[in-house]
Symmetry: C2
């Protein structure tokens, strides 16, 4: 049974425009077909299609919501996009599979890429959510300048992962459970000293990701996996 | 300074044929140029090229070996290759970055791919070793049938990660430090019941990788990261 993202009001489910196109055009569904729906906020539904067209598909909810088990942590990863965009794209896909709540893109001094197609990232996120049988859609934020990003108001604990020489905690000793955590991961060429100091001034704590030199996208995924493994 | 893989005998270093071609043809080095060498067994060297040709490059060792810090665990990952080979290729790249000692490919009942180009995998491994500034080259084994693989003699602890319903330990509670560990990761569609039973009969312990359904390549990388984070 195929899974679609829909907005649900009572027993009426309306698929998003992209999902409608996919449902009608690519998968060639007909009214009456059984489908599974997710609302993006943690609910799974069984439904039957009532209206199928390339612009708009609707369904009648048969049962649900069944709620996705909540993760015990909130993880917000802020990462500098890589020069080769496919590298950050696969990281986004994998991060969603492992579990993430919010992804931000930050523009740093050493960034070699200054554009991120927000719409495409959202699509990758949604597709990974469905593929990994989840019902919550992580938030994807637009590219923001580093200085502006670190000075934004926030709650919970905040970390900056960098390769500079200073006393740093191993991410393996960070406790993620029952907390909201924001982790910054820098570009190829790392954060500059000025950026690190700026983050520390805004109460980010410095962490490291082990002995090896990791690529940006590997570092981002390592953060997600460390959070998932924390306390296990 | 560029890094090359070489076999070292006393003060004479001979680059591998592929590295020689890369050194002479792609990077257009000349005799006298300073290079860094790794011997694939954990040693870093400084050297100066003495002979440069597309078929054979040699260098005189100036200093070394400086030994790479040893990891505190030995990790052998045995994984079913994915239908789309690029997915397993990036996993191999990332696994090397994070740290791995041996990679095997296993042919399972549900495998959709029955061929792995060994030479190409070795190239990916070597390139990732150099990129992440390491000096040890992990072993890459040829594709082996599941049944044959699990019955091979081995030392240390052995695990099979699968999605079947039975009592399983979370990989986060496995202790990897000071031990040799072998972990099996199955294909799209998972191991069959028969394969799981076969592994259990050969003293593999069942583990799980958390609540979410992971793709094969994500699962493989999760194992590597769990080992790296174990005891941190």
């Amino acid at each position: 049974v195929n899974v679609f993202i829909a907005s649900i009001e009572g027993e009426l489910a309306t698929l998003t425009p992209e999902e409608s196109w996919h449902c009608a055009r690519v998968l060639r569904h007909k009214a009456g077909d059984a489908v599974k729906l997710i609302d993006g906020k943690g609910g799974f539904y069984d439904a039957a299609l009532t209206l199928v067209s390339e612009k708009k598909c609707q369904a009648a909810v048969v049962s649900g919501p069944v709620l996705q088990t909540k993760r015990k942590y909130y993880l917000h990863l802020a990462i500098a996009p890589t020069k080769q965009i496919d590298r950050i794209e696969w990281m986004v896909e994998k991060a969603v599979e492992i579990g993430i709540d919010e992804i931000s893109f930050i523009q740093c001094k050493n960034s070699e890429r200054l554009v991120v197609k927000h719409e495409r990232m959202v699509k990758i996120v949604e597709s990974a959510v469905k593929q990994s049988l989840q019902a919550c859609i992580p938030v994807v934020n637009e590219l923001t300048a580093f200085k502006q990003f670190v000075s934004q108001a926030r709650t919970g604990q905040s970390f900056i992962a960098h390769c500079g020489k200073m006393e740093k905690m191993n991410i393996g000793s960070v406790v993620f459970g029952n907390l909201s955590s924001l982790v910054l991961v820098g570009p190829e060429g790392d954060f500059t000293k000025e950026e690190i100091n700026e983050a520390l001034r805004h109460n980010f704590k410095a962490i490291h990701l082990g002995e090896n030199r990791l690529r940006t996208e590997t570092a981002g995924l390592y953060v997600c996996m460390a959070a998932a493994l924390s306390g296990k």
